[in-house]
Subunit: 349 residues, 2 copies
DNA sequence: CTGAAAGCGCTTACAG
DNA sequence: CTGAAAGCGCTTACAG
C-alpha cells in the first residue's frame, strides 16, 4: 500500500470483478463482455487508476522506450525528439531520454540502465557502439538507429538521410557558383567501437569527394577534421584560412562547425561570401538568423524522428524483418554561399 | 526467466548464501560478515549481475530520478543537465529525462508518468505547475525546482539565481554606457497554473524596473513581451524599432530573444551597438561567436545543475527541512553593448 | 465470458 | 551474522 496508491485490486473491488478482468481491459486483451468492460472503465476513470509500471514490468511490458543521444545541446537532435514525441503522444509509450555527453562508455552504461529498466525498445541516435554490441542488443529488444548507415542490418531498423547525396548537393551548389578550391571541414571523434564508415559524417565526406571528382576538381579536394571543440575548430580553421592554398569555399559537416567558421572569418576581417563561401549541414533554425544567413543541407529532424518512432512501435508490435528508411536531403540556399541571395530568388539563379 | 537474465537467486546460488544476504550487500545494508560480503561481491562481478529495477521498485527504491524540462533545445538547459550528470555519474542514480515541449498539460502527464515509474525524486526545471500541485507532489516524493522563486517553500527545495539582480546589473551596465531610453524584451506564456511572479522572467523584469528607477529613468521604462516564437518576436521587435520613442538599448530576458533582435537589426541595416545596444541573459556559448558578440548575464547552468542534483540526493537520503539555494549572476560584457569592447578591456572602461 | 492461483525478482521484517 | 517466508502489483496460463 505505497502511499495509498490505487491498485488494480481497488478497481476490481469497485467494479465488482476479478483483477484478471481489470488487467484484460487495461491491456485491451479482449475476452471481456461489453457491459463488464464499460463498468471496469468507469471504475478506472472514477478512481483515477494508473497501473504501476514496475509491477507491469515484472510480467509484461513497461511501455518505456529508451532514447539515447549523445548531445542534448544539438538543435538538430532536439528536432528529432520533437518528431518522436509527436508519434508517442497518442500512445501509452513514454520516452526515457538518456544523454551520453559524447562518451562511449556512458553509452554502454546508459543502455545497460535501460535494459535494467526493461524498456520495450530503444532508439539510438548516432550511436557509438560497434556492430557486435548492436546486434547483441537487438536480440534482447527492438532497436532503431539513426545516423548509422547499415542498410543490410537484419536484426534492427535504421533511419537515415542520404548523407552522401547531402555532401554532393552542397558541393554541386558551390561548383555552380564558380568555386574550384572547395574544402571540407569534417569531424573526428575519439577512437571508438563503431566503424567510422557507418557514420553520417563519413558519408558526407564521400559525397564531397564524389562531387569534386565529377567536377574534375580532385586536385583541390581536401578534408580537414576537428573534434567538436570550439578551440580545436578555431585552430584548424585559422590554419586553413592562413595557408597558401586557402579555399574560396568551405563545406562544413554540421552547422555548429559552420557557425564557428563564420565567427573566425569575421574575426579575421573576411567578408562572407565574397572572401569565403560557407555551406553547413542540418539547416538548424539559427541558419535563418541574418548574422549567420547560412546555407545548409536540410534534413528534417522531425520527419526522421517520426519515422524512427513508428518503426520502433511496429517492431514492438511484432514485425520481424528489418526496415530501412532513407530520406533525401535538400539544400537551403542563403547568403553565406551566394551573393545577394535570398531564400526566394536563390532558385532562379 | 526473462531472456535468461541473471537474478539475485543465481548470485545467491553461486555464492552459496541466501538471497537475503545478496540483497543486503546490494543495498550496503550491513549485517553481513566480511568474508561473506566478499564472496557475494565476487559472484556479482563474476556473473555480471545487475538488479532488475522493476523488482526493486516493487519493494524499495528505483534509483531513478526524474528530470523535467520544457525545452530540450535551450542551450542553457543543456548546461544544467551537464551539471546534473556530473553529480549523478558516481552514484547509482539514473536520470530519466522528460520534455514538456512547453505544454503545461504534458508537464502534468509527464509527472504522472514519473510517479508511475516510482522515481525516487524529481528535478523540475522552470515548472509550470501551481503551488498546490507542487506541494501535493512533494508529499509523494522529494522535489527540487529551478526557476521557481519560492524561498519560503517548506516541502520542497529550490535552486535559483538572483534574477532580480541579473536584471539590475544588465541595466546598470547600459546606464553606465550612457543609455537612457532602455527597454526590455520579455516573454509571455500561455495562461497557466503557476503564478507569473515566481518565474525568473518576472524577476528579471523587476530588476529592470528597479535599476531604471534608481537611475531616475522611470519615464523610459517599458517592457514588451512576446511568446517564444520567432515570428512574434520579429513583429514585436520590428514595431519597437520603427516606433517614435525607439530605444537606444534593449535588455532581453534570454539570449534566444537577443539573437533574434540582432538578426532583425541587421536586416534593418542597423549597426550594433551604435544604433542599438543589446544585452541578453544566460550567457550561452553562442554569445561568444563574433557574429553575435552578445553581452549577457551569466548564470552558470552547470553549477545550478550540480546544486539541484545534490539537494535532491540529500532529500532522498532523509533531509526533512527545505533548502533554498540562491546564486549570484555576473555580467559578461561583449561588443553588442560596448563599442570596441573585448572581454578583456571591458573591465577597465 | 469470468476468476482463482501462480509467479515475476526483488526487499523487509522476523526468527534462529 | 544468516536465511526462510511474506509480499509488493501486476500478467498469464488455466480451469470452470
Amino acid at each position: 500500500m505505497k502511499n495509498g496508491r490505487t491498485t488494480i485490486r481497488d478497481v476490481a473491488k469497485d467494479a465488482e470483478v476479478s483483477i484478471a478482468a481489470v488487467s484484460k481491459v487495461l491491456r485491451k486483451a479482449g475476452g471481456i463482455s461489453d457491459p463488464t468492460r464499460q463498468r471496469i472503465e468507469a471504475s478506472i476513470a472514477k478512481l483515477n487508476y494508473r497501473p504501476l509500471i514496475s509491477a507491469r514490468g515484472m510480467r509484461g511490458q513497461t511501455y518505456n522506450l529508451g532514447i539515447v543521444l549523445s548531445d542534448i545541446a544539438n538543435p538538430f537532435f532536439s528536432e528529432i525528439l520533437v518528431g518522436i514525441h509527436a508519434v508517442l503522444d497518442n500512445t501509452p509509450y513514454q520516452p526515457l531520454l538518456g544523454v551520453t555527453m559524447g562518451k562511449a562508455a556512458r553509452e554502454q552504461a546508459l543502455i545497460n540502465a535501460m535494459v535494467d529498466r526493461q524498456v520495450d525498445g530503444v532508439i539510438l541516435i548516432a550511436p557509438h557502439l560497434g556492430e557486435r554490441s548492436l546486434s547483441g542488443l537487438s536480440r534482447q529488444m527492438p532497436i532503431v538507429t539513426f545516423g548509422y548507415h547499415k542498410p543490410d542490418a537484419d536484426t534492427f531498423d535504421t533511419v537515415n538521410i542520404e548523407d552522401v547525396m547531402g555532401g554532393e548537393i552542397a558541393v554541386d551548389h558551390l561548383v555552380a557558383g564558380g568555386h574550384r578550391n572547395i574544402m571540407m571541414l569534417s569531424s573526428i571523434a575519439e577512437p571508438e567501437e563503431r566503424p567510422r564508415e557507418l557514420t553520417g559524417t563519413y558519408q558526407r565526406e564521400q559525397g564531397y569527394h564524389n562531387a569534386m571528382k565529377r567536377a574534375g576538381l580532385e586536385q583541390y579536394a581536401r578534408v580537414v577534421r576537428a573534434r567538436p571543440d570550439p578551440d580545436e575548430i578555431g585552430r584548424q580553421v585559422r590554419t586553413l584560412l592562413a595557408g597558401e592554398n586557402r579555399p574560396t569555399a568551405l563545406f562544413c559537416w554540421a552547422d555548429f562547425y559552420a557557425f564557428h567558421v563564420l565567427s573566425i572569418a569575421k574575426d579575421l576581417g573576411m567578408e562572407i561570401p565574397r572572401d569565403l563561401a560557407v555551406v553547413g549541414f542540418d539547416n538548424t533554425p539559427s541558419c535563418r538568423l541574418k548574422q549567420n544567413d547560412l546555407s545548409s543541407v536540410d534534413q528534417s529532424g522531425a520527419v526522421l524522428g517520426e519515422r524512427a518512432a513508428k518503426a520502433l512501435i511496429e517492431r514492438i508490435n511484432g514485425r520481424k524483418q528489418a526496415a530501412h528508411t532513407l530520406l533525401l536531403p535538400r539544400l537551403a540556399v542563403r547568403g553565406s554561399s551566394q551573393i545577394e541571395a535570398t531564400e526566394h530568388d536563390a532558385a532562379g539563379t
